[in-house]
Symmetry: C2
Subunit: 302 residues, 2 copies
């Protein structure tokens, strides 16, 4: 079943321990879409400028990403430039050129409006709300956000939280949004704002899934060849919703599996620069990695 | 089978979000011993002053901790005073009164010298080496350390690493000792210094077990009633070695189970002030919690 992702399509310039990677393809919606396409068709809504390479659009189409919703307008594509510390533990933004993204208002094509799985990747919650106003109520709405919107769009973000099913959020942002340091207490506070399911992303420490009073702890795969964390959280979310949209099952067990599939794709993502290690990912490779995750945490209870 | 633990016996004064806890029983060897006693007999080597309460010694004896190796000398017991931040994420030492611990040289009673499971809790590596010189080669030697010894006793610490089987170490200390930020690379570097098994403790993020090229990721239990992290790493190590000493099994699966049992007891420890929540811990309660850990990470691989 198709999933719809709305979010940023970008070119990133990344400086890290491996060098400078100039104007490579990025953006939350691209990472989400590539990840979700592992499991089935994806519809993408976003905006790019005339400079966005045709090769990137061809790549997305080849992966089964429908680009009817990708506007191409005069101007330059959203560009983010940042520098990671050598240990990849922190990063600083050098510049953010919104370009054509500055005036972006998502327009959902008629053919997308009854899509049942909707991923609201990290953009202004006001735009995320505009998307919800344009679609029939999907079966599942997942939203991501970031510290910027907690700082400057808190009321709109809270309005959004009342209208979504699943919130994916970084641990630090969960603390900021809830005002609670303890992650369990923070998750409860986030539940009370609306989403039935809260997923707290902890980077190299994995993810916690909170749903209906139950908790699942997903590991991250310890890797010795970490290259670039950019987009990993987006591949996590895209894999999560893509798996749910295309795999039979229900309830907490189904959510747990989706978290593991998202984690598996994120583990590939961090092993390459930008989208490099997720753009040719096969379902078989992902399944193999899920088995590695299973083995990583498996033990026999007494 | 008995395990022998050598380390600090202390009184701690802890200031945290719940108040001030003045001269409560603490010390790495005490936390290790109480935790290990869940599984079988424990022998303890350490030193206290005449002020150390008889009630604390009675408690340890009641739990099956042999105190023949606990010296009682004129003077005051080692005292540590510290303050935790309200979120328990950091702590500062206010004062360290070594007192009788300043002149401590471990003396292993003759009846302990052929004990097969030895826990070298966190003390000066020079003293840890003195213990090894006094015992027949145990079947398993586990050692813990801390940043202080990496700073001021690096050569002795490296000598120790060449003579132990298992190193338990905090993530930050693993980075400091190895000079590597990446946790997998750090573990490899630590292996190369001697220990076949490296366990990296990550606090609320669980623990990683590295052994023979294999990796196991143990979760921490997400808790909404965290009270005091003091001693949790020591209860982890004590539970780990106590489980190994008293449970049939071998190889990586056996190590994995021991890590989970150590994690389970540590999860109880953090729910109480000082030793409060581990001093009356039953084996049944620990087994129940291990099942909770199992459920926390269990998922069906495809």
């Amino acid at each position: 079943m198709a999933m719809l992702v709305v979010g940023s399509v970008a070119q990133d310039t990344i400086h890290n321990h491996l060098g400078t990677h100039d104007h490579i393809i990025g953006g939350a919606a691209v990472f989400c879409a590539l990840s979700g396409s592992t499991f089935g068709p994806v519809q993408l809504v976003g905006v790019v400028g005339r400079d966005f390479p045709q090769s990137a659009m061809d790549l997305l189409k080849d992966k089964g990403v429908d680009l009817e919703g990708l506007e191409i307008v005069d101007g330059k594509t959203f560009h983010w430039e940042g520098r990671y510390s050598d240990d990849l533990a922190s990063r600083e933004t050098i510049r953010t050129d919104l370009n054509v993204f500055a005036d972006f208002r998502p327009k959902i094509p008629a053919s997308y409006r009854n899509t049942e799985y909707l991923m609201l990747a990290n953009i202004d919650p006001e735009l995320q709300l505009e998307v919800l106003d344009q679609v029939d109520r999907p079966k599942l709405v997942v939203a991501d956000t970031m510290n910027l919107w907690i700082d400057i769009r808190l009321e709109k973000l809270k309005e959004l939280l009342g209208r979504i099913d699943v919130l994916t959020i970084n641990e630090e942002e969960a603390r900021q949004l809830s005002g609670e340091h303890n992650v369990v207490v923070a998750a409860k506070a986030l539940h009370s704002l609306g989403p039935k399911t809260v997923i707290i992303k902890r980077g190299e420490y994995g993810a916690l899934l909170f749903d209906g009073g139950r908790t699942f702890s997903a590991p991250a795969l310890p890797l010795d060849d970490v290259k670039d964390p950019t987009g990993c959280g987006d591949t996590f979310a895209g894999g999560f919703i893509g798996h749910l949209a295309n795999t039979p099952g229900e309830g907490f067990e189904h959510l747990k599996n989706a978290v593991i599939y998202g984690s598996a794709i994120a583990s590939f993502c961090v092993q390459g620069i930008g989208i490099n290690n997720v753009k040719d990912l096969s379902r078989d490779a992902v399944n193999d990695r899920v088995r590695t995750f299973h083995e990583l945490v498996r033990f026999e209870a007494n």
